[in-house]
């Protein structure tokens, strides 16, 4: 077992995780469907969303330069990072220059991707996650399992115990409102004290230099408003060309993501504003493999992704295996294409196979990323550039031999029936098949071979 397959085993064996995931994804799916049904021309809006992001990607250099010029004109500073190490070094140096040794952070996939918290810790700077779920993940020294609900693998009881152990609280109940109240008190003190904020960005407008952060809890507002210095780390694909593009994006994202007409808080700012909010603003533009993805003409549509997580919530593989199985920052269907595209096939060669190609992800994607087609394209690239997995090649060779003549085929069926009977129960093959078919049957339930083959039945009729 390797890659996705072995990591998925842990998820499949954890009934709590599977229950939580199923409950959450079922609830979000229903909410998303209702929110989308309310919009008269959702299809037109999706098409607009895809067109906006394509327009941004196909002239990405020009839009980034325009964004940079506008941020600088509004009193901000722009930094460019080729990779994770460079981005971490920039942020670390910026924090050091303020004299601070702690930062408050709002959940961001980009900083998760580059491992910013660990880099800051190595430099003696404490990074406090302020999203409730991220706080839970951080206190538990854990990893997020879902873009939207990163602590979905934690039960209320887990969280109660965690807060009592890590936050010095006693006598807590498992009431979510009470637990959220504990987090509010704990984090409020930090918001008022810490002088540097770190955020990601959902959108950045080239035309005006505006940065947009979309959130629910208010911690994003805290991190982008209260500190003296704000550092935003943004993947270069987050830029949109024009201000009016927000009109489409701010409909597509909340309805697809949490199934709300609008998320509770959306913050937009441009550079610095005298007398209001941080008086120093730094924008870090992060490549880290995005230009590699851009070079793949079919794969580049993955860069349209606005991280709504709708594709995760409809994915049968994700629902059963859980986010940790992908062993990558980006999980689910989008992770299966984005991770190898930006992070290379060496680490993620098995991910393009982590799908049944059912197509549900494409249907819900607000920016029309054709994930199944990109998956097939990437499987092709894996096979061409890195060779097909050995078991698949062996199985294909055996199949060709057996299907070659009718006699061999009938013999093989009889052999399978004899061999399969001790392995089957209730009409299903209980255990893995031996030999070259082992990897395939490890993760699939097969019907047990019938007592009589079709040909035998036809002859004895």
């Amino acid at each position: 077992m390797s890659g996705f397959a072995s990591a998925a085993r842990a998820g499949l064996d954890d009934p709590q995780l599977r229950r939580n995931l199923r409950q959450a994804t079922t609830t979000i799916r229903a909410k998303r469907d209702a929110a989308v049904a309310e919009v008269d021309d959702w299809e037109g809006l999706r098409t607009a969303g895809a067109a906006i992001k394509d327009a941004a990607l196909l002239a990405l250099d020009a839009h980034l330069e325009r964004l940079e010029a506008n941020v600088v004109a509004a009193g901000g500073q722009v930094h460019w990072a080729r990779d994770a190490g460079e981005a971490n070094a920039i942020v670390t140096a910026l924090v050091r220059a303020t004299g601070a040794d702690e930062v408050v952070k709002v959940k961001s996939m980009a900083t998760e991707e580059i491992g910013l918290n660990a880099a800051l810790a190595a430099a003696g700077i404490a990074a406090y996650e302020t999203d409730l779920a991220e706080l839970i993940v951080q206190l538990g020294d854990d990893r997020p399992s879902h873009i939207l609900v990163p602590a979905i693998h934690r039960s209320r009881e887990d969280i109660r115990a965690l807060f009592e152990r890590e936050l010095g609280e006693t006598g807590l109940s498992t009431d979510p409102a009470e637990l959220a109240g504990v987090a509010r008190r704990h984090l409020r003190e930090r918001f008022l004290r810490v002088r540097v904020g770190v955020s990601g960005a959902n959108f950045a407008v080239a035309e005006t230099g505006a940065i947009c952060v979309v959130e629910s809890e208010g911690n994003g507002r805290m991190c982008t408003t209260l500190p003296d210095t704000l550092i935003t780390v943004m993947g270069i694909e987050k830029v949109v060309p024009r201000w009016e593009d927000l009109g489409a994006m701010l409909q597509l994202l909340p309805r697809s993501s949490t199934g709300e007409r609008m998320n509770p808080y959306t913050s937009l700012w441009t550079g610095v504003t005298p007398g209001d909010g941080p008086q120093a603003f730094h924008l870090v533009l992060l490549d880290n493999g995005r230009t590699t993805a851009l070079a793949d003409a079919i794969g580049r549509q993955a860069l349209r992704c606005i991280r709504c997580s709708a594709c995760l919530n409809v994915c049968p593989v994700y629902e059963r295996a859980g986010g940790h199985a992908y062993d990558a920052t980006y999980a689910g269907p989008i992770g299966a294409i984005l991770s190898p595209l930006i992070d290379g096939f060496e680490r993620h060669a098995t991910l393009p196979s982590a799908s049944t190609l059912c197509g549900a992800c494409y249907e819900v994607c607000p920016v029309k990323i054709d994930i199944p087609s990109v998956l097939i394209h990437l499987r092709g690239r894996v096979a061409r550039e890195h060779g097909a997995p050995p078991s698949e090649r062996a199985a294909m060779r055996a199949m060709a031999r057996v299907l070659g003549t009718r006699r061999k085929y009938e013999l093989a069926q009889r052999a399978l029936r004899t061999a399969g009977r001790p392995l089957s129960r209730d009409g299903r093959l209980e255990r893995r098949l031996p030999g070259p078919l082992k990897p395939w049957t490890t993760f699939r339930d097969l019907p047990a071979p019938p007592e009589q083959t079709f040909r035998e039945w036809w002859r004895s009729r």
Partner: protein
Amino acid sequence: MAFAMSAARAEVLRRIRDALGDERAPAPPPAPAAAAAAPRVADPVARFTQRVGDYRAGVTVVEDASEVGAAVAAALTRHAAADAVVPADLPAGWVPTGIAALADDPPLPHARLAQVGAVVTACALAIAETGTLILDGGVGQGRRAITLLPDVHVCVVGADQIVGTVPEAIARLAGTPRPLTLVSGPSATSDIGFVRVEGVHGPRRLEVVVSRRA
């Protein structure tokens, strides 16, 4: 550091150009037709108040500006707020007598704002379709921190400020140099056991007063 940064800038731009080759977007980019053509809302006040109510925020509709003060007072009383921070230029008469009003002038320290029971503001615009309030730091709104730290936010909306849809609001806000905050209901999380809890970090209570006439 400066040199390293400009080297990174040049290389990222070069990588983008290499990746795209001759495939360039037609300039200017295509207009998002569907987003612009979003249908108008027939009765914006009714739609707006219904949508705000869906977020479990309080809504009061009054006939004209003379009734705003009383509606604000009732909203503050509902949440037992004894004091409220107000922007220096909040219209006179919106803050009821009997409540301790603190003008944010000179600016109050964050720690002080966190102890105030409520904040009363105007807004720049509102969106009917999504029940959204938009603050742009203009008249009667103050800086962002004052609507963030107190526990109750009372926001006064004029009927003529309500637009139908998100694209209409975005179009009206084009060219605004100030930071924007879009508020759709009180802060919320579903992070624990997937149960929705109102009020994590922002104001835990949102009260909206709609005045039909100025």
